[in-house]
Symmetry: C2
């Protein structure tokens, strides 16, 4: 059985949704960031990076959202959530998810996790990073709106593992200071995603 | 035919090495960062992100190193550079490459590309980021040394698309202020990689 380690309001939601939507037999373990549980010796045994998500499988632990999403898609091929048999189409899926992971999520992280990249007690530098977030996250969403979101789903007619991931990162954009009015297609995608049964169930479970 | 857009000393080298090692029929286009060519209208037509690498294929443009590496591996299955038929093993490959892309490369980028995350004219914040790079990049390499590099190759006995990517990012560690003595296994991996014919050829071509 699969076991997902997550924190509320984190990017683990993307994998949670996909596990729900493929009908996987899985359980969840909540990691409490407020008490620093992600850096506890017990959790570092699971994931030495001290981050979520992590996915325990029969063969070991997996980390990194793009890898976990493709793993679930490939393990449940009947759900057809990634075009594994088409190298170009699969690479497009991977490129989208890699952009979310390495650019959009990273830009967002400069609001709350600036201590990763400057000394934690450098209040001026931390504040300088936070001031830039509306622009850097906004530019990422502009690019998605204009060049990457094909519609109605990210990859076009076919719903893929890109959709729950975009939805997950789009949860944060208002707090990041991005005006939703500038990205109507992203907002419409977020609304349609929020109506899916698996999405509702995953969110309800995380907030319970 | 495949066409790789690259800049010298960039992460495009990873894909360049893999194209060389699989024996692909490919050409290269050098993008000159010194003159800002990555933001020229012509290049933005290729890659609206204004970054390298990009890979032109018969079906369109691909970006993002993890996606491009898996694409080349999947397109040239005889080279056996990724265990595409084993979801868990492939996810381990992807998790490694995703970590390089979203954590290690991002930490490194705070030395030269801090303007992505603070105002470009905020010299104090830019300098604060640069001061943290030896620690943040060093921590990433420590994790790889201790927990991720199985040896002799990243994934163990089998050489994969993880190896050229690790080698590429390991080019920069001295300039990032990381003492090579603390990561002997990474340094040994880098040395063995540098002796491969395809690696030598890709580097020579980029520096010609």
């Amino acid at each position: 059985m699969l076991k997902l380690y997550y924190a509320a309001h984190s990017c683990a939601l993307a994998t949670h949704i996909v596990l729900e939507e493929v009908g996987a037999d899985y359980s969840t373990v909540r990691i409490d960031f407020a008490s620093g549980q992600q850096r506890s010796p017990e959790y570092l045994e699971v994931n030495p990076k001290g981050r979520v998500p992590a996915l325990a499988t029969d063969r070991g632990i997996l980390t990194e959202t793009p890898a976990m999403l493709a793993f679930v898609a490939q393990s449940f091929p009947a759900a057809k959530l990634a075009p594994m048999d088409d190298p170009f189409a699969f690479a497009e899926v991977q490129a989208f998810n890699s952009y979310l992971c390495s650019s959009l999520h990273v830009a967002h992280a400069h609001r709350m996790r600036g201590h990763r990249w400057v000394d934690a007690d450098d209040a001026a530098a931390i504040a300088a990073m936070q001031r830039k977030v509306p622009e850097s996250v906004g530019a990422g969403f502009d690019l998605i709106e204009r060049d990457m979101l094909k519609g109605p789903w990210v990859m076009g007619e076919r719903y893929t593992i890109c959709d729950p991931y975009l939805f997950t990162l789009a949860q944060w954009l208002e707090k990041d200071g991005v005006d939703p009015a500038r990205i109507p297609r992203v907002i419409d995608h977020r609304r349609r995603m929020s109506e899916r049964a698996g999405v509702r169930k995953a969110i309800a479970q995380e907030l319970a």
